[in-house]
Symmetry: C2
Subunit: 396 residues, 2 copies
Amino acid sequence: MINPYITEKLNPLFVIDESRRKELLLEAEKIPSLIISSAAASNAVMLASGYFNPLKGYMNLTEVLSVAEKMQLPSGILWPIPVVNLVKENNFSKEVVKSVGKIALRDPNVEGNPIIAIQSVEKIEKINEKFYSTVLEKTFGTTSLDHPGVSTFIDSGDTLISGPIEVLNYSYFSTDFPDTFKTAVEIRKEIDERGWEKVVAFQTRNPMHRAHEELCRMAQKELNADGILVHMLLGKLKKDDIPAEVRNESIRKMVQLYFPKNTVMIAGYGFDMLYAGPRETVLHAIFRQNSGCSHLIVGRDHAGVGDYYGAFDSQTIFDILPSESLQIEIFRGDHTVWCHKCEKVVMMRDCPHGNDNYLLISGTRFRELLSLGEEIPTEFSRPEVVEILSKYYQTL
Amino acid sequence: MINPYITEKLNPLFVIDESRRKELLLEAEKIPSLIISSAAASNAVMLASGYFNPLKGYMNLTEVLSVAEKMQLPSGILWPIPVVNLVKENNFSKEVVKSVGKIALRDPNVEGNPIIAIQSVEKIEKINEKFYSTVLEKTFGTTSLDHPGVSTFIDSGDTLISGPIEVLNYSYFSTDFPDTFKTAVEIRKEIDERGWEKVVAFQTRNPMHRAHEELCRMAQKELNADGILVHMLLGKLKKDDIPAEVRNESIRKMVQLYFPKNTVMIAGYGFDMLYAGPRETVLHAIFRQNSGCSHLIVGRDHAGVGDYYGAFDSQTIFDILPSESLQIEIFRGDHTVWCHKCEKVVMMRDCPHGNDNYLLISGTRFRELLSLGEEIPTEFSRPEVVEILSKYYQTL
């Protein structure tokens, strides 16, 4: 199996040792605590799960600027996205936290705001306008508040609390999605048990339609991969995306009916969507390498939103990464269409049949038909998937 | 301006010198003559025009096999397509032609079959089944008689007459298309007069619709070219293609209305379409370099037909040519769609807007609408172009 990113062994920040857990929970009662942002909590879950190996905690100002500007940590390690605990200055006493040197981080997404992690505080740094514009422009390619990732980032706060963390739980991900949420450690273990070597990961935050299904099939075939990891985001999304439970159900049905047994593993990870396009795609590659995958499928406008990124920016960014910084490779997906001659979804670059035989599959049109309760052409989606989605749309 | 292919100066095989022309016409009366195939005649016109520089005549068996198998003449010069005078063994006396050493070639496409060229006969070689299969497989990628280029090739004969030629006229091309037919010599002269350095050629055998128009515009802009050569095939086509006169009229109207003055040159060349896809595309590049163009636009399935070639085979073939064999470069066109947000035709690789905003333009659907006399969406084609094509369709 492919090595984890940078290190030989995964170092997840989840605290397994029972006595250490007890110690930390006791300690938590004596130190200041703070309800953190959903983004910071999901960073903690990713760190806990080994997905963000080899990071040890939240980045400081120097690290964030280095990552934003050069896609590198000051140590030289490639890293595309700031991993931060951004808080509001007025929500805590800087002096107290500084003198104690530790802070308990409370989960904003679980009732009662239980403690999710304990952070050793290295620095507390107020950020300024220029920081915002640099970091946002470099990370998201825009400073527009219309961008869902940008507005979430800005809303989370004005102050960076940096330093290593120890994580006590996986937030709501392990409880709400007990069968689907998996850590990088668990995925590597399962890949090992299945005896897979070459594994291609498919990132999704949406139900899988015919196009996604074929993309997986094409990648597996072309790469001669042993298996496919359908790896879905379980965290927060923009409003018009399909909720994780519905998506999960429809993906499981599709895989069960249309893929050979034991060729697909379905798992989820606990992270809020950033919609940072190319930069987030590199992050996607890193945490799939940590999960033991040799390849990541990157299609059109991967991790994008609106018109912020060029159609293939999330592929071409890999052309400018320092060579051998990543071991995982990407499988480049092209535009897909339904081809009446092939009688399946094809990548346009691979199909000789041309526009006369093509049907473009529009996600918007699909959602329109669904919400109107109209029949969905089977070229768009498997009927069993449509059935699950229809039920959801009827509840809206 | 770019140099001609291989040589410093173009050496067109058209005989300009009046006394030499008279000599040849007199000689023609005394030597055997033969009505050649349309393909051989169009080869003669291309040789006469300087387009096939530096070739001196028709290839022999060794040359044809070398070109087919290695895309090279025995001398090492890159050449993608056999240029042959393929005749039927029973149509002439091999012994007489051999003893005379010369033959007058008669034009099959002009009434009275006037003499188009005089050939010095170097070899007369019967070809066999194996030759057919090798040459066809390598050149056309198929030996299927359903392929229009293959069937034309096989129908033309079983015997190669090779050797240099001197050409006396440009067949029907100069008479039927006096304003459009131009030799490579004439095009170079006009490029020179216009003071253009960087010229991008657009190959067409069809009317130009919005997609073609935009492709030209995008290439010119991206390459920062001084001008565009719209260079149309005037020879024989498969039945369902639009005749050259109609195409010519519609292209001229489109250029006049929608391109800035003095940015587009329209010209035609006298060649029968081979539909040989990638191999023919390399030939297209060679004769555009001979015409003084620095770039050739190569879109999806360039010079292709049916499903014989992959969508981008005609682009990727240039990746395997020996470096610096050609000076002309290609501009790679992607799939084009109408984008409702951009409000124009775009290349899918360049547009961020995605399927929800796209309209696929189907040529078949377009022709259907035309022949039914129904309204053509302006996304497909300029109304002035549609008007000209409609008139033609009403005569069918």
